[in-house]
Amino acid sequence: MARRKAAVEASVPRTSRKRDLPIDPYELPDENETPRRRRRLDATGATDEGTNGENVADHEDADPFPKPSPARRPGRPPKSTAAGPPNGQATTPSARKQRPPNETPIKLNGIDTPSKRNIADRSARKKSARAIIDRVIGGAVSDDEVEEGDIAREIYESSEDEEEEADERGRLDGDQEPTTPSKTPGRKRRVAARKRSPTPPRDLPAHEQYFYQNRPGLAKTSNNTLSSLSLLTHDEYFSIFRKLDNPHAADVEFLQSLHAESFPQWAFELSQGFTTCLYGYGSKRRLLHNFATYLSSQNPTHTIVIINGYVRTLTTRDILSTLTAALPSFSSPGTGGSSSGAGSNPSNTLQSLLSSLSTTTPQTTVTVLINSLDAPPLRKPATQTLLSQLASHPQIRLACTADTPDFPLLWDAGLRAAFNFLFHDCTTFVPFAPCELEVVDEVHELLGRKTRRVGGKEGVAFVLRSLPENARALFRLLVGEVLAAMEEGQQGEEVAVEYRMVYNKAVEEFICSSEMAFRTLLKEFHDHQIITSHKDSLGTELLSLPFRKEELESILEELMS
């Protein structure tokens, strides 16, 4: 698999680099460079890069008239036409001509001023290019020169690499936000760009692997997308999921039983005022549930409260009200307290809860079991503080589970001391789905396909059918604008259009007469979640549509028809 991927990675970016090459603002139009030489230069460069084996490269270098292998360069014709007229620059793509070279001040600020090194590099590059050409023309190569040539080519390639990258970044910066100079200074990336290799080396020592994983610079990935694959819907996911069986079910079950043997130990730890925290890969929901069963079988009078941290709607109020309900003796003063306004504040409620717990006789202990302590609803520091206050009360025993590897970051030393944690590795390998995890939603969100909205194109059509004519017109306008912006903008960027601009157009087209009316129309779209809006760093309001380009196109077609 690795090999396959490597091949993909190796070939695809190369072509893109070649495409970028002529649009280099710093490309020095070499006076001596006739179009013919120029073409040759490109050709040698391309063949060099395409083949990794140096022998092959040398061989091709030696060939006075290198023929570009057709397989390697399928889409090259523009290049030769570009080289055709003497003023080659004139035919470069218009996009880059429109951009004056000094348009990106970021680059000048962010990257160090075009230092001596850059200039030296460039001239070195020029020299080495000339050296290569000379050698190609000259034909015969001695052994020494082979090595020299390699060096020359390396200089040529590396600086090319850098320029391409700088260029790319410059464009990125220029397009995105010209006001944020906070991009990491470019130089470091450039330096590191030289040693990038597409294939991941095997058997690296740990720190080397870390560096490999963290190597700076843009990662090169293929341009494949999942468009050919029809993604799963909820229904399909669940219908298939029910049919599948886990080949490891028995082993997982065995693992659970191993963990279950520690139940008395955990119970003992809880009784001694520690908080038991179970971590490790896999859902520990059932394990904790079994633990609760065990605890209640040991002592049926024991009150056990279970809190499912992964439930997205969980609030501290839920936790506190459940706790209150769990203490029958507390209910009377508790309600009194809340009516007097103290109940409005969770920490107050907690205080009165705890104090009533310590004053009631006979002493009751409550065991609180929390699933997924590190789940988003519980991650807020205030919630963790509240839980730690719970845990530090002598009559409340707390056991919890954590599902992410970074969970210790939730607590500072003070909180941790208050919790008084004992950690146990409870790797269960039980899938998190379906309770802790909404698999389909999660994946679609990850892929940037919005999920919690009306179902795609059909949904939009349905919504629009129920709206008045000018709403439909406005949406059509919006779709058109967004599509136009997509045409201009970059692949994969979140495309958004300015609110003000859309409003002006809408007024021009007599869709609405006032901003009020415009807002009302937009509100309708918002309610159906077919548009999203946000503000950029300057405070400009931007509108965008949570659809992919293809979807938008088909929506537009439908609207036009």
Binding site: F211, P247, R285, N348, P405, E493
Partner: protein
């Protein structure tokens, strides 16, 4: 899933509820029996009933020996734990309270004085608590207790997390100040809305009114004061503090606010964060809390080493714990918890711990055959038998091995032996510390004594005191004897040692003899006009200078020892003999049955208190076989196999990718592994379901996040977290720079330690550097040495950093040249700064020194430059 069919409905319902009270009845019958493993049920049943009758709350210890332990023994172990720990806990609490008492006293009296002084400023106490915020809690709790009882002010504790802005902070202050009143429970409402006016809950007017009412009610008390304690004042925003203080100041005529700041760093740093005008409104004093180290030492003295401790924490564990306290800024609470956990582990999991029971509760019947068998497998039992055989006590040895009755009797005797041994050890240790000659701290000495015993012999001993004693002059010698007998008389309350004069009559007697003798000698030598010295302290050779015809003559004389001196020497020898005899202790590992009362396991402690979740997750995902022990994945061995759980496969693939992962490629790679053509043979949609699940889990665990850079791409999250800091990023990429290897001229080989990256270069050790220099012919010059591109000199006695620099120069790193420039510049600056006089002095000194022949300029420069060169 199939196993849970029976109670699936119950689960489904519960799993989606946010918080609920566990319904034991629904589960107790069905799930309880079907899901719990058979073994647990068997052992849990008989015990489960008993405690319901007796003590219905606490869980019981499960029987050990594979369930063969009698319930009585298990119960006894529990009882033992329950009696052993609380004693220690109360002692520790005492120690902690004592430690803070001085601070508390000072703070309280300062507040009182300031209240009377009427400075017109806000009284501020700066309490330097040290870096651990965990231990601040205890301090402020005590402070609250103390202040509230002392003068009835309102005490409010603020933590930065509770007070993010002015409004919330004020709310909190008002709430706490009004709620703390013991009888204010339902008055609160009336007060806040008193006079038909309802105050906003962050209006200090409310507090003012409340305080006034309080005052009216209890006329005798002046309770206009509110003490606000900022526990972690560094964490507060400077602006917020400034606002609060200004506000307090303006309310000064109505409510007297006092503020206390818990400060982890220093008052200067804290003050720098406040506005000058604000700082001027404060009238403050600084208080230091007893530093964590000394608290730790006293806790160890009383709870670990003291006689009250039933269980001995073994030397290596203790060492580990202490190191952790020093290395990580963990509060003393962590240490106490670890201590408690050690007790818990021992009594919970060691069946032999039952033998620790006192004579009253321990009897023959409790000792089961399993206990005896277990004792016979102990290391210390084997050692004991071997020792007996070597000593010729064959009968004893045989009975130990064969006769159960005999062994039980021996075991029961051990209790007494153990106490004696420990007492002896502690006394010896106390004597050692009271000599004041040992350089190590008590904790170090204690750990040493446990692991290696005590032996004061200079050459071979663990605590070499011999030389120190020998060098004493008579005055010190007498003082030492005084201290020793003092220690014996008074014992050590910290350690829980009473005086043991009656037990050590002989020792004390000889001590007084020596004391008398030396005093007599001192008298006599005084009257003789000589100073008393011993053979050890007096230099045997004395340089004598005589001036003969303007020339200095040096001659050596052997000092003669007087009779008194000889007697004194004898006295010292006698004392040394006494000490080495009385202080001698065996390491605890040599004692028979020490396994019963020593706990020295590091592993549960480390895993339980310092978890490494990252490594755990990585292991589970990269080598699932370690956990699952399934037949199918055994051959994967950390590699990739199609039978692994989906998430594990994706995890492997994830690590092969760069910072951006193309999901389409990930999917095709995954499908190529498990798809229809492979052994696993999943069809596309099923594989996609698994893929979805795996990807969702990766996201949930925080490995990937959405990326907008490209369509259908996800970004790695975990690996790049540290690299988000640009400076760190730069450093990382610098450290990751590859270094081209250099070959040996003679063989063409590369040294295995040759640094592959810049990081590796910085991690080279001294040995490795020497090895590299030798390998590349730099250490011992030969004709190859100069053939390398940048040869260096490698004189012996270089420091590590010098070696590193030289090697860097050798392999051609930038910035590793000999720092001549810096040296010269430094010299020039120094010269410029000196006055003429100094220069002249320097020149004279040099001239003098040069006369002595050490005019090594380089040496001079090196000395000046300190570490740099």
């Amino acid at each position: 899933m199939a196993q849970y069919e029976g109670d699936a409905t119950q689960f489904e319902e519960d799993d989606h509820r946010a918080a609920f009270i566990f319904n034991r009845k629904a589960d107790g019958d069905s799930a309880g029996q079907s899901t719990r493993p058979a073994k647990r049920r068997k052992v849990a049943r008989p015990d489960a009933r008993k405690p319901q009758q007796t003590s219905a709350v606490e869980p019981v210890f499960p029987p050990l020996f594979n369930g063969g332990e009698s319930p009585a023994a298990a119960r006894l172990r529990k009882e033992l734990f329950e009696t052993a720990w609380p004693i220690l806990e109360t002692r520790i609490k005492q120690v902690l309270r004592e430690a803070n008492r001085n601070t508390l006293d000072e703070v309280t009296s300062f507040l009182h004085q300031a209240a009377e002084a009427e400075t017109g400023k806000i009284t501020a106490g700066f309490i330097i608590t040290g870096p651990s915020i965990a231990s601040q809690d205890l301090l402020f709790e005590q402070l609250a207790e103390r202040l509230c009882t002392a003068s009835q002010p309102r005490f409010v504790r603020l933590r930065a997390s509770e007070a993010p802005n002015l409004k919330v902070a004020l709310k909190k202050i008002i709430q706490d100040a009004t709620a703390r009143a013991p009888d204010a429970g339902d008055d609160l409402n009336a007060e806040v809305s008193q006079g038909g006016r309802k105050f906003l809950n962050y209006d200090l007017e409310a507090l003012h009114v409340f305080l006034q009412q309080q005052r009216q009610r209890q006329r005798q008390r002046q309770s206009r004061r509110v003490v606000v304690a900022f526990q972690d004042s560094e964490a507060f925003e400077g602006a917020l503090l400034t606002d609060l203080i200004t506000l307090f100041h303006s309310w000064r005529d109505r409510i007297q606010f006092d503020v206390l700041f818990g400060i982890a760093t220093s008052v200067e740093l804290f003050e720098a964060r406040l506005l000058k005008s604000t700082a001027r409104q404060l009238y403050g004093a600084q208080f230091d809390v007893v530093q964590a180290n000394s608290v730790l030492e006293s806790v160890i003295k009383s709870a670990v080493a003291g006689t009250h401790a039933t269980l001995r924490i073994g030397p290596s564990l203790l060492q580990n714990l202490v190191e952790r306290q020093h290395d990580q800024v963990a509060g003393i609470q962590v240490f106490i918890s670890s201590l408690k956990y050690a007790y818990m582990c021992h009594f919970y999991a060691n069946p032999l711990s039952v033998l620790l029971a006192g004579d009253g509760r321990m009897d023959q019947r409790l000792v089961q055959p399993e206990h005896i068998e277990a004792v016979r497998t102990l290391e210390s039992f084997k050692a004991q038998v071997e020792a007996a055989v070597q000593a010729g006590q064959l009968n004893h040895a045989q009975s130990l091995i064969e006769d159960d009755e005999y062994l039980v009797a021996q075991i029961l005797q051990q209790g007494q032996r153990r106490r004696e041994d420990l007492l002896h050890l502690l006394r010896a240790l106390h004597l050692v510390t009271s000599t004041g000659l040992a350089t190590a701290s008590f904790v170090e000495l204690y750990i040493l004594a446990l692991s290696n015993g005590i032996d004061i012999d200079q050459s071979s001993g663990t605590i070499p005191l011999e030389d120190a004693v020998k060098r004493l002059n008579p005055g010190e010698f007498l003082a030492l004897i005084g201290r020793l007998s003092d220690a014996i008389q008074n014992g050590s309350p910290e350690l829980g040692l009473d005086g043991w004069e009656p037990d050590a009559e002989e020792f004390v007697g000889s001590l007084t003899d020596i004391q008398d003798e030396v005093e007599g000698l001192l008298e006599r030598s005084k009257s003789n006009g000589t100073t008393l010295k011993s053979k050890y302290s007096a230099q045997s050779k004395v340089l004598r200078t005589t001036v003969v015809s303007q020339k200095v003559q040096l001659s050596q004389d052997t000092a003669t020892l007087t009779e008194e001196d000889k007697a004194f020497t004898n006295a010292i020898d006698t004392l040394l003999g006494l000490l080495s005899q009385n202080l001698h202790c065996d390491p605890i590992a040599n004692l028979f049955l020490h396994e019963v009362w020593v706990f020295d396991w590091k592993s549960p402690y480390r895993d339980v208190f310092v978890p490494r979740p990252g490594a755990t997750f990585a292991r589970a995902l990269s080598r699932p076989h370690d956990y699952l022990a399934c037949a199918c994945c055994a051959k994967a061995d950390g590699g990739l196999a199609p039978t692994l759980p989906t998430t594990a496969i994706l995890y492997h693939l994830y690590f092969e990718a760069g910072a951006l992962v193309n999901v389409a490629d990930l999917w095709s790679a995954y499908y190529a592994l498990v798809g229809e053509e492979t052994d696993v043979g999943l069809d596309e949609r099923s594989a996609l379901v698994f893929f979805y699940r795996g990807l969702a889990e990766l996201r949930m665990m925080g490995f990937v996040k959405q990326s907008r850079k490209k369509a259908d791409h996800v970004a790695k999250l975990n690996a790049r977290r540290a690299a988000r800091n640009p400076a760190f990023d730069a450093k990382l990429s610098q450290m990751a720079l590859k270094l081209a290897p250099l070959v040996q001229l003679t063989t063409g080989a590369v040294h295995p330690d040759f640094p592959r990256t810049l990081l590796a270069f910085w991690l080279l050790t001294d040995d490795q550097l020497d090895g590299l220099a030798h390998f590349y012919h730099q250490r011992t010059p030969c004709h190859w040495t100069e053939q390398y591109p940048c040869p260096v000199t490698w004189p012996p006695g270089l420091s590590l950093e010098e070696k590193r620099r030289k090697l860097g120069k050798f392999i051609g790193l930038r910035g590793c040249d000999t720092p001549i420039g810096a040296l010269v510049a430094g010299e020039v600056v120094q010269q410029l700064q000196r006055s003429e006089e100094q220069i002249r002095e320097e020149a004279e000194r040099r001239a003098r020194v040069q006369g002595n022949g050490s005019g090594d300029d380089v040496e001079e420069v090196r000395r000046k430059m300190g570490w740099y060169y």
